[in-house]
Subunit: 81 residues, 2 copies
């Protein structure tokens, strides 16, 4: 089964990396850019074939390793098996 985990900083948490990208885009002439936020994508291929099992396993992975839940939100998206 293939899954995609998206980890983004919670809204309200300062995102200096996103801000830097926004400023760089402005300098390159993209003047309409207002706000930029950067996050991570983690694509995982794993053995589990049951959807619900997979989802709970992925949530555990996020809580334990992939996301810092104090400042980050995560979203789990399961693709085809």
């Amino acid at each position: 089964m293939k899954a995609r985990v998206t980890v983004m900083l919670k809204s309200g948490v300062l995102d200096p990396q996103g801000k830097a990208i926004g400023q760089a885009l402005n300098r390159l002439g993209f003047s309409g850019v207002a706000d930029v936020r950067q996050g991570k994508i983690i694509e995982i291929e794993f053995a589990e074939t049951d959807q619900t099992q997979a989802r709970s396993q992925l949530a555990e992975m996020c809580e334990k390793l992939l996301a810092n839940t104090v400042i980050e939100n995560y979203a789990i998206e399961i693709k085809s098996s």
Copy 2:
């Protein structure tokens, strides 16, 4: 308009960060994890309201700054305006 750009290493390009995550997950007891790849998400909010204009602008941003097209693929996803 809000857009989401996803930047992933091309398949075949070595991804040490993804490999490290995979090994860490294995050590944490998630034994079924086969392959992990890590990428970036960039969420951009900008003034452009025309879909096609926005898409071509985003493609230009990716080519110029957001992605290293030698080793990375990008995908553009436009959300609601």
